[in-house]
Amino acid sequence: MSNLDEFKKGLLKENPTLVGLLGMCPTLAITTTAFNGIGMGLATTFVLVGSNLVISLLKKVIPRSVKLPCYIVIIAGFVTLIEMLMKGYIPGLYKSLGTFLSLITVNCIILGRAEVFASKNKVLPSVLDGLGMGLGFTCSLTLIASVREILGAGTLFGLKLPVLNTMTIFILPAGGFFVLGCIIAFVNRIAKKKPPVTVGCAECSLNGECAACENKGGAEE
């Protein structure tokens, strides 16, 4: 795969949030305003690019047995770094992201990319992969947050919009799930992703031992 493809795949085709369904915790929790969404997304992108870079550089040095602790230390280092910078320069955003900023450390997108991609690939593809995935995450967060902010609070990036009636439910958790579901469905439609093929009892690993098959005396399809 060319370097450009490594970058592009995170944006839509393998979008971590909307296709991979990773990092749901920040996705649902902080997408109440578009500004929060973009801030969280960019912070995650920074950490993702940094950790992918360092981990792909160190992939030969880190022994297998301490792989995960090393990755987590590196990721946590970058998270603390962005936290300090944000506290120093954008205190407003720092306050509204709150705990979720430190929780980037355990965001499965970052550890996932480190484990699946950066630990097996060269430096440049790893950085591009991190950048693509991070921007994909940022775009989806901003999109979800914009929809929720417009419908729920009648504003966008804090600017008042002429919305007839705001529906508070969109700001609440239930609205978050609703918007996320709709956007996932929409993206799958664009990406022409097929739903998983239903596996019949013939290919099932339980091989006719489960209750559904027992009555019929083993594999049916």
Binding site: T32, T33, L58, V66, V73, G98, A153, T155, L172
Partner: protein
């Protein structure tokens, strides 16, 4: 090198390097804002009492003067007092307000930061009628017209106001006794 030695060694090295770099960044970015009237506080004070010269009170040991639940006490040249208070709303430490208290009761409330749910909890700031019921309050009351859907934010706001009233009482007691707080 055997794996048994190499693995902990590499992990230790990585931890040390990361920690060292973080110490360096911390030194670069950390700004101590305790005891300083920041721009946000300044604009909040102007909203309550108008332009003027404000000072943050210090206690005898040189630290910032604090009362129960109050982050800092700020007075202007006319001796009017405002209390900076952080209170829990729906989110922890979600309500950060400046409350001006005088002899006539609560004279003004201004929000420094509001970490409550946008559109729901933030109505305690946007709904002017809600804030209005606190103005002029002298004693703690049990009555409160809480906002529908924002009960915790409303309660947090009431708690902040109660804290300010308490602190004002303590403050006036101290100043009338020996007047050491008004330096």
């Amino acid at each position: 090198m055997p794996e048994k030695i190499k693995a902990p060694l590499v992990l230790t090295l990585i931890c040390t390097i990361v920690a060292a770099l973080l110490i360096f960044v911390h030194k670069l970015t950390y700004v101590d804002t305790t005891g300083v009237i920041t721009d946000e506080l300044k604009s909040g004070l102007t909203e309550i009492y108008g332009e003027g010269k404000y000072t943050m009170l210090r206690s005898d040991d040189g630290g910032v003067l604090k009362y129960d639940g109050v982050d800092s006490v700020i007075v202007n040249e006319d001796g009017k007092t405002a209390f900076e208070i952080t209170s829990d709303g729906y989110s922890k430490d979600g309500i950060h307000v400046l409350i001006g208290v005088g002899e006539e009761g609560i004279s003004g409330i201004s929000f420094i930061a509001l970490g409550e749910t946008p559109g729901v909890g933030t109505r305690i700031k946007d709904d002017k009628n809600f804030i209005k019921q606190f103005l002029g309050m002298k004693e703690k009351t049990t009555e409160l017209d809480a906002l529908t859907g924002a009960t915790l934010s409303s309660k947090g706001m009431k708690k902040a106001v109660d804290t300010a009233l308490n602190a004002y009482k303590e403050y006036t007691n101290e100043t009338s006794k020996g007047g050491k707080a008004g330096e």
